[in-house]
Symmetry: C2
Subunit: 330 residues, 2 copies
Amino acid sequence: VTIGTVSKALNEQGKLRPETRERVRAAAARLGFRPNDLANNLVRGRSFTVGLLSSDPWGYYSIPVMTGIEDALSDARISVFLCSARGDPERERQHLDALLAKRVDGIVVTGRRIDARPPIDLGGAGVPVVYAFAQSIEADALCLVPDDVQGGYIATEHLLQSGRRHLAHITGPAEQEAVRRRRAGMMQALAEHGLGSPEPWVGYGSWTESWGYAAANRLLDDGRCLDALFCGNDHIAHGAIDALRERGARLPDDIAIVGFDNRVRVATETRPALTTVDMELENLGREAGLRLLGLIDGRAQSGVIRFPCRLVIRQSAGVLAPSGNGRSRS
Amino acid sequence: VTIGTVSKALNEQGKLRPETRERVRAAAARLGFRPNDLANNLVRGRSFTVGLLSSDPWGYYSIPVMTGIEDALSDARISVFLCSARGDPERERQHLDALLAKRVDGIVVTGRRIDARPPIDLGGAGVPVVYAFAQSIEADALCLVPDDVQGGYIATEHLLQSGRRHLAHITGPAEQEAVRRRRAGMMQALAEHGLGSPEPWVGYGSWTESWGYAAANRLLDDGRCLDALFCGNDHIAHGAIDALRERGARLPDDIAIVGFDNRVRVATETRPALTTVDMELENLGREAGLRLLGLIDGRAQSGVIRFPCRLVIRQSAGVLAPSGNGRSRS
DNA sequence: TTGTACGCGTTATCAG
DNA sequence: CTGATAACGCGTACAA
């Protein structure tokens, strides 16, 4: 019935008579007693919390990453502070200060895009950091990102395997790393099939359905020889499909289409349903959580690690089995 | 140079010589010293954290709510634990236990839908709770939800103001409260214009683009007299627009369309761009944060509070000014 | 104006 | 096997 004994009873520690242990347990349950983590953490010098600093205002990509992180961390009984900085450096500072004051065991930084960003400023606090779906410009940071080259490769490979030879690529802004890398993966697959030149048509624009619609119409207006379309994301693919349908193309027979992102409410709803590339962000988040645990335990690691994407086959590019089988290509 | 003095210096407390205060500050900055919130919180008996328990696996609605909450709470220097239960009662229990052990000052519960759910089980811990975009079946809970009746009302009113008289409604599953309430708002507006009977066609289905597409096609096949369509969400509206366009209807001249949700990457991308109802979830989240602060400070409140929706006018229903001016109608 | 001692709720160590 | 005590890092009265 003394304070120290209770601790041992509830934590299965030390030598206690089973009867005492049970008596304490019963009393604890009856009183609704819960150990106070704050006090516990104070003496152990750890908070069993991590901060998730997100720059992605709508959570397009943060949500699955976050889910994965939580999944990996819940086994270690670690809770997650969500901090949406919304790209505002001022908010980021405030959140960071709060996290450090709360003595988080680690920090995960997620982005809206994978393009390298300035590192977060820890002010000398030795807190482990991992960038998930984000990259830091500092050399020794640990960054986890999807393998966009491999993603572009398996998308293209799938189109080529189904016998297509005249590809075009409608994609996002040329200055984004993901755009460049997906295009590089496409070129790599084409080259392996001896189709590297002349280079296929590549249209840079925005990540929107309207851009996909406009670009597809332009392709048809130009009267290009075309039997396959690789779209930089699912919204673009949706717009392209609408344009092609309106102009009377039979899909996928006349033109096969592959998208990117596997945004479910989009990809399953196009007519035909969209074959697309999934970045497996939940898995990336889980990996981020696991590696953060590693850093917390003192196992050093750094560098950019790319995780393979997966082809999700629906109807927009025929019904072939996947070929790339997910091995990394970058 | 002593421990207690530092506390006073950094917290602007007690009487100290300005020089000493400055000296301490300089040293603190140099050493990168940060007060340990855990220790502070332990003595103050508050953690300055709240838990956000989300049942919405993809964050469709949780994200804006969450953003608003964070916004409201950051002024009170409160951080947010994100817990995604994904509808799994087991996960919810675990998260809840963790939150209570961490001594959160309050809990916000968000849902995927507003339909009443069982209350969270606090096990007798006196922690304030507010349900945001969620409702509890218990009577005295504080629940904040959008006013779907008013939302349906302003959508319909807008169509009627532009001279339309033959409305139909394509919406989600009949058993969802939001579906019933939006429909009720529609009926109310129609009744006020003497158009309550015969009742307009209402199609219940799923929240998907493909359902909108199918339902619109069915309407045209039936050869119904139709000059306006109120869709239960933007995905449905997108599908309906595609179907109408394919069948040669001129939009919005032949048929005016209003959606629901103001999901930006959808509503701005339809052809024509979609006039739709915004639930202002970020505002709802902010309100949830504010009211949770109220509960924490001991200001009791309870009951279901509905927040008005706002009509966002684009091109799909003509270019009329909004009429309902946002006053609550439920 | 500054230093000292106590308490917050735990766990760990040691003495009984 | 169980009870007492120090320590975790801070704020805060109170003593110097």
